[in-house]
């Protein structure tokens, strides 16, 4: 059974502890605020002999991900961690990791992108690589970050998937926030993830292979189609692994989590740590008789479009909360996907978009109550005045 007593861990500590228990063959990493602690702590585990990992220090995140791809194609279980500029410096190699079907696990701490330079939370970094072929799992708190890291190994390494996985937390809010979490025993983690069986290895002299070959017009499309299928397969595997994790350790995971959603008429859809704030707003408004709810999305890639449509179809009005702006003038990335997912419903809820919290701008219960009040007005027959709004910016 899982460890009963709770321990105090920040998000970074929780992710580092998960990495220690996973005990990967190779970690290649370069430090960046606010994710530094993850690999810093992990390097101390290596120095103290708590893990068997080959720890590769590199001169940049581009090199970190390159070393990860090299190690993964050689047949190793590989992990790393980064944030913000580090993630987008990795971007070129992130696509390659997915294309080569390397199930690398990345602990990603969501942080705004330059310019202007900023070290605080928003989701711009993770969203900027949303089409790289990585599975993307968001966490609300340290507990989820820890649980997601462990599940990520099983999801990415599943033979029907073989894709890299990034597990994200929100910079400082989760990464540096101390919380009580329940950890598993080392053996429970090892039993759950099992030994790694590489699909192929560059070091296998009995079965020589070439990785990273060239495709022209004649084969590239077929290989991209395979990766698309792997992402499709990941949907089933994510649910299976989440269910098994729940059965074994008591905490269930799916694509998303509803809060007072079933009988709600209006709801927010959001990612990450803001869910906690939104729950308080829901509780307060429910006391005042407002039929409001919340949908916290956990898995952004693959995007669970049909399942979301099913979960949201009974609502009258929805606000999608984007902690990043695609600067498309047509709303944030989450909004674009959620709105598209609802398009085929015979009766579509009204839907609006709020871009909020950029560069770590605080989001309060009152801010979210204001959004719910606006949804109430719309669901009562009021016109949508502005589909896309900026919440919390000085006008």
């Amino acid at each position: 059974m899982a460890t009963k007593e709770l321990v105090a861990r920040t998000g970074n500590e929780a992710m580092a502890e998960a990495m220690r228990q996973i005990n990967p063959d190779v970690v290649a990493a370069y430090p960046i605020t606010p994710a530094t602690e993850i690999v810093q702590l992990f390097s101390s585990y290596v120095a103290d002999g708590l893990v068997d990992t080959e720890f590769v220090t590199v001169e940049s995140e581009h090199s970190a991900m390159s070393a990860c791809v090299g190690a993964s194609t050689a047949g190793a279980r590989v992990m790393t961690g980064t944030s913000s500029q580090g993630l987008i410096l990795m971007a070129e190699i992130l696509y390659i990791a997915a294309g080569l079907r390397c199930p690398i696990i990345l602990a990603e701490v969501n942080r705004a992108l330059s310019s202007p330079i900023n070290i605080h939370c928003d989701h711009s970094d993770t969203m900027s690589v949303r089409d790289s072929g990585w599975i993307q799992i968001f966490s609300e708190n340290s507990q989820e970050a820890y649980d997601n890291m462990i599940q990520a190994v099983r999801i990415g390494e599943h033979m029907d998937v073989r894709l890299p996985v990034m597990v994200t937390t929100d910079g400082f809010i989760i990464s540096h926030g101390l919380e009580a979490i329940s950890m598993l025993e080392d053996k429970e983690v090892q039993d759950f993830i099992g030994p790694y069986k590489a699909a192929y290895s560059l070091l296998d002299v009995e079965k020589p292979i070439t990785a990273g070959g060239l495709d022209f017009t004649d084969y590239y499309f077929e290989h991209r189609r395979q990766t698309a299928q792997a992402m499709k397969n990941a949907k089933k595997v994510i649910l299976e692994v989440g269910r098994e994790f729940g059965e074994k350790f008591g905490r269930n995971y799916g694509f998303f989590e509803g809060y007072k959603l079933d009988d709600a008429e209006i709801a927010l859809v959001l990612l990450g740590s803001t869910a906690g704030t939104a729950r308080v707003a829901v509780d307060q408004l429910r006391e005042a008789g407002v039929k409001c709810g919340l949908l916290k999305l956990r898995v952004f890639r693959p995007f669970p479009a049909e399942e979301l449509a099913e979960a949201l179809k009974h609502l009258k009005a929805i606000a999608v909360m984007d902690r990043s702006d695609s600067l498309s003038t047509a709303g944030g990335p989450l909004f674009a996907e959620v709105r598209s997912a609802l398009y085929d419903l015979p009766e579509r809820p009204a839907i609006v978009n709020y871009i909020y919290g950029l560069g770590g701008r605080d989001i309060t219960v009152e801010d979210l109550e204001g959004v719910y009040r606006e949804l109430q007005r719309i669901s009562g027959g009021g016109q949508v005045q502005e589909t896309i709004q900026y919440l919390g910016v000085r006008e």
Binding site: G99, L100, R101, C102, R162, A199, Y200, K207, P208, I209, T210, A211, G212, G213, D215, D218, Y219, F221, E222, H223, R225, Q226, Q229, A230
Partner: protein, 96 residues
């Protein structure tokens, strides 16, 4: 050349060695090397330099060019000794 996405090894892997032969690069060519057996002194410079192993040699003699794989780079024609110049590059349009 006709494998579907379901039949191909995943990740773009090449899982057998020596299979470049299966990939016919000859259709990239726009200049065709034409070998003149009368002029050829069989020094085999062309055979050594050809990046596509497209010079066909039998019993120490150049007997032809593998047009299914020759990309038409012209290296053979350039390396062929000046005094013989037994390979001429001819525009492919003349063969259409």
């Amino acid at each position: 050349m006709t494998k579907t996405w379901k039949e191909l090894p995943e990740g773009g892997l090449i899982t057998e060695s020596g299979n470049a032969h299966q990939y016919e690069t000859g259709d990239w060519r726009n200049l065709r090397p034409v070998h003149d057996r009368e002029k050829c002194i069989n020094c085999l410079f062309c055979w050594i330099y050809c990046p596509d192993s497209a010079i066909i040699v039998k019993d120490g003699k150049v007997v032809g060019i593998d047009y299914a794989h020759c990309k038409g780079c012209g290296i053979c024609a350039r390396e062929c000794p000046d005094k013989v110049k037994a390979i001429k590059m001819v525009d492919e349009s003349e063969y259409e």
